[in-house]
Subunit: 301 residues, 2 copies
């Protein structure tokens, strides 16, 4: 089976990018979109993010055999309840949320009897909203699918084929494991970046102007991460609380150890740690998850 009609609920960075990627890569598939915000619907229609932009959630999902919820994790329940009475029999409902166990539970409760296959494309930018999306966002990125036990394998295969058609690589894993992995590769980095940007703005001995002027020494990279959508990230931390707190605890232990090395002027311990972390960078580049250009220079040369 393949999906002929796809509905996208929520037309921000992720929803818009899915719509554009379908247009670019599987043009035979029809897309319909809806967003709760009329201004977003207007921009989505102007940009052609989906084939049609509907005035109601009901209209967007009525004919769909795949519905993808692209709203912040905390808004999944309300979105699911809004579409529940209007779904076609046999439909697959999926999502793009950054935490999976909580979303799976929310959707299962709101959509009894419906096939729910949660997913998380590990892709994005620091931008948000209907002007942020672009069709190449998922190229070479991983999409993690976390199906419930006993899932209809034909539907799972169809969802996998859909993401692969958009350029993504697909991995299937349990929701709880997803939440642990993403806590370290995404949620913790964002929390740290948000923290350090806040710390820098609150100093009394250093002005905010100085922090901005000399940000090229490393700080500006954290501000890019900390420019991400606040609603989305609030919901991620609330919905993946246990795994994030666990990773935070480990991070704090490691930071305390390095702090102690600095206090004791233990140069060997610092050098050993700083050397070890270089190997991971090389692996990420080899695996195609980042490019090797020396990006601190920023200018193309």
């Amino acid at each position: 089976m393949t999906f002929a009609r796809v509905a996208i609920v929520g037309l921000g960075l992720l929803g818009g990018s899915i719509g554009l990627a379908v247009r670019d890569h599987i043009p035979g598939v029809a897309t319909a979109g809806w967003d709760a915000d009329p201004a977003v619907r207007a921009r989505a229609a102007a940009r052609g993010l989906t084939g049609t932009v509907c005035e109601t959630a009901a209209a967007a999902v009525a004919e769909a055999d795949l519905v993808i919820l692209c709203v912040p994790v905390g808004a999944m329940g309300a979105a699911a309840r809004a579409i529940a009475p209007h779904l076609k029999p046999g439909v697959v409902v999926s999502d793009v949320g950054s935490s999976k166990a909580a979303v799976a539970a929310t959707l299962a409760e709101a959509l009894p009897g419906v096939t729910i296959i949660p997913a998380h494309p590990v892709a994005g930018t620091e931008r948000s909203g209907p002007d942020a999306g672009f069709g190449a966002l998922f190229q070479q990125r991983w999409c993690i699918v976390t199906p419930p036990e006993g899932v209809d394998t034909a539907k799972l295969d169809a969802l996998r084929a859909f993401w692969e058609a958009l350029g993504a690589r697909v991995e299937v894993m349990e929701a709880a494991h997803h939440d642990l992995v993403l806590a370290v590769t995404s949620h913790l980095p964002h929390l740290i970046a948000y923290t350090i940007v806040g710390t820098a703005s609150d100093l009394e001995g250093v002005t905010q102007g100085e922090v901005i002027k000399y940000s090229a020494g490393g700080f500006r990279d954290f501000t890019r991460i900390a420019a991400s959508d606040p609603t989305m990230w609030r919901d991620v931390f609330l919905s993946n609380r246990e795994a994030v707190l666990e990773m935070l605890q480990r991070f704090t232990e490691d930071l305390t150890a390095l702090q102690r090395s600095i206090r004791l002027s233990d140069g060997d311990a610092l050098f050993e740690h700083f050397t070890r972390t270089r190997a991971i960078r090389r692996s990420i580049i080899e695996e195609g998850q980042d490019d090797a250009r020396p990006d601190f220079g920023r200018s193309d040369h």
Copy 2:
């Protein structure tokens, strides 16, 4: 006064970039370079990082009216002692070290009677070595100069003009204040990045392969920072210990507060914090210290 002959001691990323920037922007100025490592000297000569690459430090500095030490902060003392007997009367000795109070003290001790004007161009990439430099590195970046009390103003003006000719903007401040500012805009971000990359490699429930595969969720940006030169960064933390420990303490307090908000599911506190940090990002882009392209997408579109 202007500098007609510039010696560069240490031909890695910074030293090489200075040599290339002089060639590109002030071609009337002659450059001579030296590096302790014969392999680096060979690469420097092949790339033409300086007009001449000398076999000894003595030969490199003999004719120079400006000597710039471009070695790790911990190697400044040895480099200064090596050149001390060979300096021309009236020479200005400067450097590019990331901490300034410790370097100023080290150079003053090693070079009694010599005019020392420490400097720090806040520019770099995650690369290091003689193949990493490029002439545009300093364009639009700030160079902080920390002259001692009673400095010869003609020499200070000449050093300022030199850096401006390479494309940099120059700011003069006290060494202690530099060290506090850079502790937050550069040293703390690097320490945090090194920490989180280490934390991610040591987990037992998540494999290193998974960390690498799903790094596009934020983690990969930290690995880029944590790929920086281990020797240089060990020396930075050892030489700017007090300011780094002070900033670490504040960071830890702020992180603990956010951790508490997550534990208590205080969504409002998280949202308020995540919104506030966005403004700093906008200012950095407006000030020309980063570009606005949505870099998480990486691909040019």
